[in-house]
Structures are given as C-alpha cells and as structure tokens.
Subunit: 428 residues, 2 copies
C-alpha cells in the first residue's frame, strides 16, 4: 500500500489516466486515516466528476470503501435477506410499508438508512416522529430483531464504510455530489457492506429527483447493478418517475400516517403500486417469488409486522402522531383538471416548512410538511383546498408558498390527461 502520494493520484485522474488498484486502495485508506487531506480528496473528487472512471475503477473504489470498515454477515439467519435503496424523492415513504410487508412474506429486510438532507426527506426522520422509536441499534439488537420480526430499519453504524461517510460529507460541501462513479460507489459500498443477499434499487428520475434525466439515471442504475452483481448481491434496479411527488403527503409524521394507511389495505394508488413492485423484486431476488405481497397487505400480516418492528425499537405504533402547531390552506385558483404537480416545488415547500434540514446537525419538525388534496389527473374546484401546509412556525408559510408558485397546472375540465408511468424501466 506504500509508494503512492496524493499528488500522484490526483494528477493521474486529472490527466485522464485510469487509476490502478493500488492507487485506489492507497488513496481510500490514506483518506480514512487522515493522511490524505480533505483539500486533496476534494480535488480528486472534482477530477473524477469531470474525467470519469471506468467500471473497473468504480468497482475497486467501492471495494476499498467497504474494506475501510466492518462487513456484516446475515448468513446465519433462518431466512434469506433483501434490501431496497432509493436514490431519494419527494413523498418517498416507500421503505416504511415495504420493509414490514417483505418481512411478512418470509424474507428478512436489514435496512440501514440515513437522515434526509435537502428537499428529499430521510426514512429515519420520518420514523422518529413515532413516540419512543429509536434509530440506533447495536449489531446484536439488529440480528435479534431480524430473526424475530424479520424487518429492521435503523441508522448505519460508524463502522460501516467509514471512508464513504467522510467522503460523502466532503462532497456535500465541495460541489462534487453529482458524479455518477461517486454516487454509485457510495450507495453500493454501504449496501454490500451491510451484507444483504438481494438488493432492489429505486432510481428516481424527474424534477424532484437527483437525476433529472433518464439517460443519466439509467447509467447510474446500470453502474450500481454491475457493482452489486460483481459483489455477489442479487441486484435489480427500477427507474421510477419522480416528476410528481409520491402519494399525498411530504413530511415526517404525515408520511408515517400515509404508510400506515397502505399497510391497512388503503392509501394512495401510486404508493401501493410502487410498494408492491419493489416487494415483488425483493422477493424474487431472495428466491421467494412464490409469495404474492398483495395478499399480505390484504390479510393484515404486513400491518402486524409493522407494529412488531416499531415496538421492537421502543416505538408505540398505536400512539397519536405529532401534529404541527400551525396550518395554512391553499385553495385551487380555478376549476378544471390538475395536469401537473411538480415534485421539486412540493419538496422544497416541505423543506422550508421545517420537514427537512439545511445542515446535517439541524433538527427537523415531526409535524411539518405538505399535504396535497389532488394528484395529476384529478378534477379540482376553484376555492376548494388544493394544499395544506403544516409547520410549527407560522413565519415559514410565506417562503413555502413561494416555492409552490408555478409548481402546478390546472387546465380546463375535459383537457385530455395522460399519466406518466410510475415504473419507467427495469435494469437487472
């Protein structure tokens, strides 16, 4: 691992050379240990963003990040494992109904999750709105819960891919987030280190997603599927639409409530559709495509698994959820058909209301967020509620309203409307 230095590795990528295995291993190890400084790694990250990486380089980079920490192993569990990762969207509460649903089908879901940053919410932030629920579990607790309940959603420990943790925080402040090699290796290093047997990637495309463009999203999906497959994880990706937000809510407690509706057999059609599509892929990946997850929603066993999962982490699934102190209703300015509802506009509004955070040390408001009362294709009536904004701080409404301006279109009744498909493509 010796014989390298930071300037040599940076210069090689700067000058469009392919980095050797030994250069990659060295730079990740040295960065984790603080031998390579932040200002050196950010220059390298920018060179990677602008000059790219080959599939071989990305695979090695991912391996080196995995090797920077511990690797979990679920092979002693009595059931197969499957996990899901979403690249982040607005109203994307899918993990909440999905994990207990798949568990109810006999496949264990070891979901190590993160907190939200920016306009897309975090799964842990949403779950933390449930009274008593805690995100931090020891490895022993996690194993025990996977064996007993079959599903766990918890915070990734500091031991899992620490190089990625450090690099992710650096990219966030240096304009180097948008590099497909770095996004793919960041996601896959954590998922491979987590030790899941199967993995389904929900790669979002559209205004509210990180990837605005379907070709870029496809490249990211293909890169990640190749990384997972290469590491022996059964990996499939769905490209799904994120030009419209998912469901009818974006926030924390309000998304938990919507998830519980889905587990109770109701909920918005798009949330149910995507939950089932992802569940089927996870079950297929884990060799359990004999089970139909729709049955487990219908017979209440998914809801049972949810309650067990929440209770196992000290949460009370039957407790009342927090409610925002203030609310503000936006009515439809005209009557007709809602033909567009922009995911980014809604996400930004929810974020400005306090549902998300600007910096990773900021708190979030459990009750804050946006509820929309119609989805594209629905009829709306002038003067009737179109959005309900929720926040603990009244002063936040003005800027949230600004972000909703121009974020939707209402066209005359009878205007033909064609819904975009939710699942755009499948890669695997």
């Amino acid at each position: 691992m010796s014989g390298h230095d930071a300037i040599e590795v940076i210069s090689a990528k700067r000058d469009r050379h392919e980095l050797s295995d030994s250069q990659i291993d060295w730079v990740i190890d040295a960065y984790t240990k603080g031998v390579v400084a932040d200002e050196q790694m950010s220059a390298l990250a920018m060179a990677i963003l602008l000059n790219g990486m080959t599939r071989r380089e990305i695979a090695r980079w991912t391996d080196a990040m995995i090797a920077s920490g511990e690797r979990m192993d679920f092979s002693t569990l009595s059931r197969p494992t499957a996990d899901k990762h979403s690249t982040g969207g607005v109203g994307d509460k899918i993990t909440l109904p999905l994990a207990p649903l798949v568990a109810a089908c006999g496949v264990a879901v070891p979901q190590l999750s993160g907190r939200g940053l920016g306009h897309t919410g975090g799964t842990l932030d949403k779950l933390e709105s449930i009274p008593g629920w805690r995100a931090a579990l020891s490895n022993q607790e996690m194993f025990a819960q996977l064996e007993s309940v079959g599903a766990v959603i918890c915070a990734a420990g500091a031991e899992l891919a620490p190089a990625d943790k450090k690099l992710y925080a650096l990219r966030d402040v240096t304009g180097t987030v948008e590099a497909i090699p770095l996004i793919a290796s960041s996601i896959m290093s954590k998922k491979i280190a987590e030790g899941t047997g199967a993995l389904v990637l929900d790669v979002k495309v559209g205004t509210g997603a990180f990837m605005k463009d379907v070709d870029q999203a496809r490249e990211l999906a293909e890169t990640m599927v190749a990384l997972g497959t290469g590491a022996g994880v059964h990996t499939v990706a769905l490209l799904t639409d994120m030009s419209t937000p998912l469901g009818l809510t974006a926030g924390n407690a309000i998304e938990v409530a919507e998830s519980v509706e889905v587990l109770a057999g109701g909920g918005p059609a798009d949330v149910v559709e995507l939950t089932l599509a992802l569940a089927r892929e996870m079950l297929a990946g884990a060799g359990r495509d004999d089970v139909d997850p729709a049955d487990k929603l219908a017979d209440g066993s998914a809801m049972d698994a949810w309650k067990q999962m929440i209770r196992a982490q000290d949460g009370d699934p039957d407790a009342a959820l927090p409610v925002a102190r203030e609310s503000h209703v936006v009515t439809a300015p005209s009557s007709g058909v809602l033909t567009r509802l922009d995911a980014m506009a809604v996400g930004l509004a929810a974020w400005r209301l306090g549902a998300g955070r600007a910096r990773k040390e900021d708190p979030v408001q459990a009750g804050a967020g946006v509820v929309w009362h119609a989805r594209p294709g629905d009829d709306v009536t002038q003067g009737e509620p179109l959005f309900t904004l929720l926040s603990d701080d009244e002063h936040r409404f003005a800027r949230a309203l600004e972000s909703l301006e121009g974020g939707f279109d209402i066209e005359p009744a009878g205007t033909s409307f064609e819904a975009t498909p939710l699942v755009i493509d499948r890669i695997g």
Copy 2:
C-alpha cells in the same frame, strides 16, 4: 459581495459556465477570510484547471487577488521602475546580475522575490548564501534603497496579494499547480500589486521548466502580457530555452559566484546574453532604451550597484562565500562532443544535493549544487571532470548521481551540433 456561496461558484465552473465578476470577487474575498474552506477552493481550482477560464475571468481573478492585500506605489521615486519575473529554471541566477545592471542604467528595480521549491532554485535562497544578507525589508527600507541604490531584491511581505499566498500553498498540495489561468493570475497579481511600471516576463520552455511545451508557454506568456497591459503595466515576455541549464552552476553560493563573474565582465556567454536581452527589454519598457547595458557591465558600474545593493541589505559582497564540506567529481565516460545536457537532470541533482527544498519549511544548503565543466557544443575528454557535485552530506551523492544518469549525451568528435537559440520568441 453577498448572495453567493461556495457550492454555487464551484458548480458554475464545474458545469463550464463563465464566472461573473461578482462570483469571482466573492470567492477570492471569502477564501482569504476563511469563509470558503480549503477543500472548497481546491475543488474549484481543479474545475478551473480542467474547464479553463476566459481572459475576462482571469483578469478579474487577478484583480480580486490584488484587492485582497495592499498595493505598492513607486510613482514618487525619482526614476522609472522595471521588474522581471522568471517562471523558473535550472541555474537561473539571472536576477542577480540583472537587477544591479538595470539600476546602473538609471531604472529602479523593485524585485519582490520568493524562495525555491522543488528542482528550480529561489533567488532569495541564492542571495542568503552571502554572509549577513537579509531578505526581509520594511516598505520604508525598500523605498529608501530604491532611491539610493536603484535596486532591491527582497521577500514579498504578507500584505501583498495574501489570497495568492494562500491559494499557491493549496495548489501545491492538491495537484492544481498546472493551470494556466491560475499560474498567470498568481504571477501577475503579485507583480501588479508590487507597483512596477514595466515588467519583463522570462517564460521558460523545456525539460527543466514548468512548461515543457512551447505552445503552452506561449499561451501562458500571452495571458500574462494581456493581464499586465490591461492593468497599465508595460509588459513584454520572452520565451527562452530551458532544455539546457543556464551557465555552469546550479546551487546557491556557486550561482552567486557566477553572477559576480558576469558583473565583472566575464561569466558564461548564455548568462551574459540573457541578462543583456532582459535588461534591454526592461530599459525599453521604462523608456530608457537610449542606454546600452553592455556598457555598464564593461565599465564596472553594474558591479558597483551590486555591491551597494548587497551592503544596503547588510550583506558583505567581498566576504568569502560558503563552500560545501564534500565534493564528488564525475568524469566524462568517453571523448567527443557534449551534445545534450538535460536541465531537469541537473536541477534534480542539485536539489538532491541539498541546494533546494522538498517542503517550504526545509532549510537549504548554501554550498550545495552542481557545477558542469562543459556546455552543449563543447569538446570533452574521457576521464576529465564533467560534473562536480557539492554537498555538506556525503550520503547525498548517490541519489544525485542517479538523477544525472541519462541526463547528457557525448557523441564522437566531429558530430555536427546545432545549438538551440536561447531566446525563442518575444511576445508583447
């Protein structure tokens, strides 16, 4: 100056946009104050290196670096001012005879100089081998010496373009030195802030230079001439050869000795030629092309100015110079004509002998360096001395010898040899 943030500026350059005046002013000011962090500036520097900058952006960047500190003003001096900057070469002691020579011609030379880093030596390191000489002068001392002696070579104070000082140190460790916009603005911000009326740039090209390629060197020269001219400084650049080292010595005290030979009317022909060429440009730039600097070498007035200049900074121009404790002679392996002597090989050898430093906090050896006893075109005789290596540490000879391997060619007597011209082109 408000309304900007680091990620916005980094992303703009990353995405190949032209930075606005306001973005440039903000980022340089915020970096100087520590609001923009090193890891953000290094990502921006890499984006600039890979995506380039327009002439307008470079000019504004230079202005912003000048505005980060103080600006000197020599307009109250009784004579015009002219300065020279070299992009750095091996055996490049030209500033030493040049400054007093131009002063003897009636033009004041306010040379704010730096220390060497890497294989090219620094002017201050060379002068510090003179017993008693000091590099640090107050502004008052500098003014007084320019009025009385007409030449000063001293260390640039911390007040001059502090943004550049910080950025230069950062580029040095992040693989972002090799960006023409950053090189040009770094050099020119200091020279414009220094307040010289005329400026001659010696842009080196060849193996021992920073620019290996004549097109790149020309682009750098043209960029700098445009910056200087735009700032009202009469600026000219000479592209000069640095495939062969200058003179017969590379080191510190040994280069001072060679410079004194030139001032005494002797010295190697190439050093004399380049000194006179640069002196003529400086005099022309300052409106004094009526004076022939060759006369001032011949009549001893340049030597008088040298002695006054050294004494004014507490040095003893007549004292014996330090001598290295150890020496090692390399003899010619065959007889014939020396057809090639590689500047990089010689520079690296001198550096490894202790004449240069690896890190800016390292000391240099006053007596260390390389003397070569023949220049390309000269006859050499097998067994006769070809190089003399000088160092205080005997153990340094082995690695210095390694760097000289393959660094020269001796061909059979009578082989035709055509010298490359020293001055390749003039831009201005």
